[in-house]
Point group: C2
Chain length 189, copies 2
Amino acid sequence: MTDALAVRAAALTLFADRGYRATTMADIGAALGMRGPSLYRHVRSKQELLSEIMIETMHTLIADQKAAVEASDDVVVQLRRLVEAHVRFHARNREHAFVGNREIDSLENPARQLVLDLRRNYERGLRAVIERGRDADRFDVADPRLASYAILDMGIGVAAWFRSDGPRSVEQVAYTYADQAVRMVAGRG
Amino acid sequence: MTDALAVRAAALTLFADRGYRATTMADIGAALGMRGPSLYRHVRSKQELLSEIMIETMHTLIADQKAAVEASDDVVVQLRRLVEAHVRFHARNREHAFVGNREIDSLENPARQLVLDLRRNYERGLRAVIERGRDADRFDVADPRLASYAILDMGIGVAAWFRSDGPRSVEQVAYTYADQAVRMVAGRG
């Protein structure tokens, strides 16, 4: 790991553990055994670290979503893969998920607005699949936006309870959540 | 509002806004125009305020769940009412939801363990309805625990996006989420 990546990883752990406001640059340096001057050679500010972490999270999620949608024309397959990717990310990157969900108001503009725009794009990507499925009579959904919010939030919730040494693997949770999402929008017909 | 309730309300807003660690008793006093001595007449510590807020949240949720389950023998009606109550709470008590979800690790024992036990009871209450529905062949659920986690998390998520001046009322969201939860467990047959 380069020093810059090590700084970001230490910041991520501290932000997830005690929150952005309660973490100081000195804490981040102490976690790495780095003094101020060598720390500031790698990063300008705590704010820069937070914005890098949150923007990277959204870029990863959006890239995974794009791959999930592009590999098939079948909306059910698209929805399954999209939910599986979403759940996998949140089970495997719990610290990113904690920081992303808690610290949006700690972010300053323009980073804050960028992250909000990326989240909007990500939600729209899921909603577009739901709407295409509805238009093709594959799905029966009264309110695609609420279906999309519910599916995203149930996946985000995985970050809070998932344990890598628990009784279910990441893949088992991902597949079950994909089934649950398909049932939610597929109707009972 | 009594002074003790005003102190708790001010603490809730500050904990939700900037987090427990970043809030001081002096901040809470300043929000109320109270000096230290009169503040400490109403509350012993910041920790006491946090535990009161988090325990009250769980007692409210559990009482609502009990009422939802007891008023009918039909598992579908029970599930609907339970999800509606869960969503209503999270749409109407966004600050309680933020603090409850963020600050469990800021809580000291025995309050921390009590809140975790109350959460476990609450999750079990929902899971019991899902399992009864499955045993009565009303529901078709492979993993009741994951269905229960998903339903709770999608409702918790409402606290993050709901706006009282938004396009959907609390009741509209509650009913749509109840439909979504029923579809998720009812299967496609």
